[in-house]
């Protein structure tokens, strides 16, 4: 499984790139820069999935104190923040030629920055808060509360009348994915980036497990050295 998963991920990623650059027609209003959408939107979906995982795993940790759930929550937060950062960088790169500005305080953009900041704070709390169990519980609560921002981001285009386009459906100011190949490319890109994200999470969980094992062995070594002295 450890070898099959990266191979499947690479094949799906190659298929996504082939569809985006060789198959999908160029969008009439935005031109080639619209092709940024496929990875931009898929990265956002992967980030949301990561943050939902943080909330779920944190809830399990608070419920039964499972170390595995806590490790998964930390890994999902790190991968989620990585993908959210990619969203926040690729978005302005698309916006500059289309809107004429790198950034605007549109509701969806603002709420996405807030989401990023919440989970970046979660990671800082985990990194600098030490091994104290209370810190891990505070982080878990933050991981659960932070996910409430995602539904707001989802509805912000319609309810708060932002200028960010709706990707799937046509709406005022939005383009919509009119060609069926555009929708297929988006789905394949989303699957590819979700596979990449899952692979990264798996590696991150493994690194945490190794670090914990090493800390335990170090304590044992120190105890033995203490006995000898």
């Amino acid at each position: 499984m450890r070898r099959v998963f990266p191979a499947v991920t690479c094949v799906t990623m190659l298929a996504a790139l082939y569809l985006i650059f060789m198959v999908v027609p160029t969008e009439q209003q935005m031109g080639i820069v619209q092709r940024i959408f496929y990875f931009h939107v898929s990265s956002a979906w992967m980030a949301f999935l990561g943050f939902f995982l943080v909330a779920g795993a944190s809830a399990v940790y608070l419920w039964n104190g499972s170390r595995g759930a806590d490790r998964l929550a930390e890994a999902a937060a790190e991968v989620g923040v990585l993908f959210c950062s990619l969203v926040l960088v690729t978005g302005p790169i698309w916006a500059r030629p289309i809107w004429g500005v790198w950034w605007t305080w549109d509701p969806r953009l603002t709420m996405t920055v807030i989401l990023w900041a919440i989970y970046a704070s979660y990671l800082m709390l985990r990194a600098f808060g030490g091994e104290d169990e209370a810190v891990q519980r505070y982080a878990a609560v933050l991981g659960i509360i932070g996910v409430l921002d995602i539904p707001i981001i989802m509805v912000s285009v319609r309810l708060l009348r932002g200028m960010h386009p709706a990707v799937i459906a046509r709406n005022e100011g939005g383009s919509g994915l009119v060609d069926p190949w555009m929708r297929i490319a988006l789905v394949v890109s989303a699957v590819a980036l979700i596979l990449v994200g899952s692979w990264l999470m798996q590696l991150r969980v493994r690194a945490s497990r190794l670090a914990e094992e090493m800390a335990a062995l170090r304590r044992e070594t120190e105890a033995r050295q203490g006995e000898v002295a």
Binding site: V33, L86, V89, I93, L203, L210, M214, R218
Partner: protein
């Protein structure tokens, strides 16, 4: 075609981000595995 640099920049950022993180994780795991091996040797396991 004038917007090509934006398209290139966006995909370059994605690939650099993903590969950078993957390399960092891989290096960290390798270092931890080596240290674990040393510690186990010291403990005679």
């Amino acid at each position: 075609m004038t917007h090509f640099p934006y398209l290139f920049a966006a995909y370059a950022v994605v690939w650099l981000g993903l590969f950078g993180y993957l390399l960092r994780l891989g290096r960290r795991s390798r270092e931890l595995e080596e240290e674990l091996r040393d510690l186990r040797r010291q403990l005679g396991r």
